[in-house]
């Protein structure tokens, strides 16, 4: 017994290919989640009760149920209703994007509410329309404050993306698992997958720090 990485060495390239799959799913879901988050956060701080209620209900449902359940509902459950199969990749993006949107909307809402209400008044007093005020005055300031929290959400998303294994998408995790099955030795490929995830997260962390520095220019 003992660890023997040499026996899975030929499979390293196969596992590494999963990085691309994981990154694609994470990147697209992060963008989708961000847009949903921005829109929901605007609903939450807006004056229309119906929209506020919708955004709150949305957040409550997506935060109140397991992500793996949402993923399976979309991949296994939804085809029953719509009558055609959804590719694993798309199902993953839909589930992660919708789910992440709920968390991001809370982060952005808190970020907007943390901004001095005098900023809004200054914009109103100048006759600046609401949409322009949000886009140019309020959101840029909110983004700066919430960047660490937002980065945290993307990191969580990167790690959580490993559950696409359950619907058979060939991400890092799934590939490590397959290699383990073929060689009857799971420890080494899973450790290797762990290392890859760790490096991805470190990369994101550094990226976040660099972005923060850039945004701090005006300080």
């Amino acid at each position: 017994m003992g660890l023997d990485f040499s026996q899975i060495a030929p499979s390293f390239p196969y596992i590494l290919k999963g990085i691309w799959v994981t990154l694609q799913i994470v990147a697209v879901s992060a963008v989708v989640g961000f847009f949903i988050g921005v829109i929901l956060s605007l609903f939450k701080i807006g004056k229309f009760n119906v929209l506020r209620w919708f955004a709150d209900a949305y957040t409550s449902v997506f935060r109140g149920t397991p992500l793996v359940l949402q993923l399976m509902l979309i991949y296994y459950g939804l085809p029953q209703v719509i009558g055609f199969e959804i590719p694993a990749y798309l199902a993953a993006i839909a589930a992660f994007g919708l789910n992440s949107g709920a968390y991001v909307s809370e982060i952005i809402r808190a970020g907007i509410e943390a901004i001095d209400k005098g900023q809004k008044e200054a914009a109103l007093a100048l006759g600046i329309p609401y949409s322009e005020m949000m886009k140019d005055i309020i959101l840029p300031q909110a983004m700066k404050n919430i960047l660490p929290a937002l980065m945290n959400e993307f990191i969580t998303l990167t790690k959580e993306s490993a559950i696409v294994t359950t619907i058979g998408a060939l991400d890092i995790m799934r590939r490590a698992y397959i290699v383990g099955g073929q060689t009857f030795s799971f420890f080494e490929p899973l450790l290797f997958a762990g290392l890859i995830y760790y490096l991805l997260v470190m990369g994101l962390t550094l990226l976040g720090k660099a972005l923060e520095r850039k945004l701090k220019q005006s300080d």
Binding site: D116, E121, I128, K144, Q217
Partner: protein, 240 residues
């Protein structure tokens, strides 16, 4: 012309303004004075509808601000406002702060807005600060930029909400000097302030508010030398 007719304001159960009526002509400089919590700022903020009057009506020229269907954004374009805490946009440079509204609201092109912003910076004595971010400015400099930003909309009147109350004492003068220049140029100004020397020197009229009521409405000389009400006498004794 601004016409305020029987305006009252409630915050919940609390009545902060009671039946205020007055008129302010074009070119007039009016200061609103009174103890803290007397409703001075609230009255000022009712004029550009940052606060909504609970009762009564306010007109600017022939437009009724208090009419629920009025396009308040259009009216606000004509009213500059300067705040106690400056409220410059921290993520924009000084020049960008001043250019933003003319670009977005007035639809000026970039060159035009830049020329205007530079000339206003010169007017407030800060032409060397155009690329600085607000964080790098002193309080007095921030407030002068805020005045320039408001003036960039070429407003018909200016509202000042305690413009020097958040400043260190040595910076009050530079801001008041800019405001004095502005007053002499014929701008209609309504100023909430605790600077009695300035009010006496620059204002055409003093409105004295106490507990939400307009207790006195008089030219500065009369207000400071022979106030009619006991409350104004008390107030002046305490602060002068």
């Amino acid at each position: 012309m601004i016409k305020i007719e029987n305006v009252s304001k409630f915050f919940g159960e609390t009545e902060v303004l009671t039946g205020i009526s007055t008129e302010i002509s074009n070119g007039e400089v009016v200061t609103i004075v009174g103890p803290s919590g007397s409703g001075k700022s609230t009255l000022l903020r009712c004029i550009n509808k940052l606060e909504e009057a609970s009762k009564g009506r306010i007109w600017i020229e022939d437009q009724e601000v208090t009419d629920p269907s009025v396009n308040i954004m259009k009216i606000r374009e004509e009213i500059g406002m300067v705040f106690q805490h400056f409220q410059l946009f921290p993520h924009m440079t000084v020049l960008e702060n001043i250019m933003y509204a003319p670009l977005k609201v007035r639809g000026k092109d970039k060159e035009e807005a830049e020329t205007l912003a530079r000339s206003l910076l010169k007017k407030v004595g800060l032409e060397d600060k155009e690329t600085a971010y607000p964080k790098r400015l002193s309080g007095g400099q921030k407030q002068r930029v805020a005045i320039a930003r408001a003036l960039a909309m070429e407003p018909k009147m200016m509202l000042f909400d305690e413009p020097t109350s958040a400043l260190d004492p040595e910076m009050v003068k530079e801001v008041l000097a800019v405001m004095k220049d502005l007053a002499q140029s014929g701008m209609t100004m309504i100023i909430v302030t605790h600077e009695m020397g300035f009010a006496r020197e620059v204002a055409d009229r003093i409105l004295f508010l106490d507990e939400g009521k307009l207790v006195e409405d008089a030219p500065p000389e009369r207000f400071f030398t022979s106030p009619e009400s006991e409350r104004a006498k008390d107030f002046l004794e305490k602060i002068l």
